[in-house]
Symmetry: C2
Subunit: 285 residues, 2 copies
């Protein structure tokens, strides 16, 4: 069957009919259907097609070991968030997931409960703590908690090699027998996603800002439970209702109140007053 405008999707989908793997055939067939529908809906011009080819090429070429521009593109189109959400439906019974983001590209350094993860002497001190439980609130043993966040200047360590200490604002913690964890850090701050590449050009051309509201990343795993990849968001952060990557869910927002308690501050090794961020996580079996 030769190509024509009318049957374009049908002709191309047919070329994938011999795909040995059923799932790959299903994915490619659907991709072709939706991609052709898009091109037909907007009647894409050749000049626009050429811009798209150039944009995708530059997006790929912007990627390096510390920069993943295609994940950024997926993020700003809401695709990352959609995939994450589809694959981690909780039915309201567990902590909701959100995007991994492009900066989980190094292993977080193992740390002890209570350790300080802010190694660059910047930011507002904050005690982060919480408890990992099962669906019914029962304590979970042997939970492993991977956390990472940007520094006070809005950059992750991997974005500033030679400027930030390696492993700055990252930590891999093992919760105690009751699933409790705590560590010292700084209050997260809103920051822009990297906008000096093709994705930044797209945001600029469409009148969108590149900012993400203040958040701390978590991946929590425990034997017998489904891992969760999520963030906790700071309630009074700018951009909470216009996250550039659509990561905010109502259930993931927390207040970060100030505590004025010199004895407690001395005990945990923070200046007084300090802030506290409490984030309990409920896992699915």
């Amino acid at each position: 069957m030769l190509f024509s405008e009318e049957r374009s999707a049908e002709v191309v989908a047919e070329s994938f009919a011999g795909t040995p793997d059923d799932r790959l055939r299903e994915v490619m067939t659907s991709l072709v259907k939706h991609l052709h529908a898009f091109v037909k809906d907007v009647e894409l011009t050749e000049a626009e097609w050429a811009i798209a080819i150039d944009f995708l090429t530059r997006t790929g070429q912007k990627c390096d070991p510390s920069r993943q521009e295609f994940i950024l593109l997926s993020d700003v189109l809401g695709v990352s968030m959609l995939v994450e959400t589809i694959n981690h439906r909780t039915g309201g019974a567990a902590t909701e997931s959100t995007v991994l983001g492009p900066f989980h590209m190094v292993e977080s350094p193992p740390r002890e409960l209570g350790d300080e993860i802010a190694l660059d002497d910047k930011g507002t001190p904050c005690l982060v703590s919480g408890q990992v439980t099962g669906p019914d609130g029962e304590a979970v043993a042997d939970a492993v908690i991977d956390v990472w966040q940007a520094n006070e200047d809005g950059f992750y360590d991997v974005q500033q090699p030679g400027i930030q200490p390696p492993g700055n604002l990252r930590g891999l913690f093992r919760a105690d027998a009751d699933g409790r964890f705590w560590f010292r850090s700084v209050v997260p701050r809103y920051y822009p996603i990297p906008d000096d590449g093709p994705v930044g050009q797209l945001l600029h051309a469409t009148g969108r800002h590149p900012y993400r509201p203040a958040h701390l990343h978590f991946i929590v795993q425990a034997p017998g439970f489904r891992p969760v990849t999520t963030h906790v968001f700071v309630a009074d952060s700018l951009y909470l209702d216009s996250d550039a990557v659509f990561g905010v869910k109502e259930s993931l927002i927390r207040d970060v109140p100030e505590v004025d308690d010199p004895a407690r501050a001395a005990e945990i090794g923070l200046g007084n007053p300090f802030r506290t961020l409490t984030f309990d996580l409920r896992l699915q079996r």
Copy 2:
């Protein structure tokens, strides 16, 4: 409005509502709608998403000044052909268009009518000729004809720098006052698109071959007429009904008969017998 699975496309489309350029807003809104519909239709897994990110990244990184892997991807998904066809509807009144392909990346060398474009002493000699006319068959003056084809081994000159002479099997011709053109070349041969990159991996994984049926590329322009980008296909070529890039249209297929005429062969400077390929082009005003 915060993100949810149900309203994902709506939330992301809303983020583009402030796009200053109306057309860009229209394109991005449609793209988001179709992209999210695809992800939801197949319920893309995180592992599949990661494969897609890696595939797109490698596709971008495979591109260099003589290789455009994203155009190849667009080609094998039928998108290039769809865009070309949408933008050059002829209503049956003019020569149909087909894909540009990734190898029109250098300027064709200007040549005189009758010149030989096969500079590498390979292939079966062929006289290529035709006439450029307007919609009613009237001769068109000052038509410029850009042609390029692969050599006998299935490669374009830009794919084999240092092996093929630069400009091999390319030519930029000016037709005569009646719109007639002729030049010496070799019979085109089917060949694979470059399949040593990500696009080749996709073809392999989906059981598709990488071949294009034998063809000769044309871009024809003349003052007062719409340019046409097309091919002429050799009627008895392999893969005529399964072109890897969906470029074949019935109206673009031609026989390439053998001619046994020593006097004519001597006159045009080809060995006897030789083949002839006649391709008349009708332009839209």
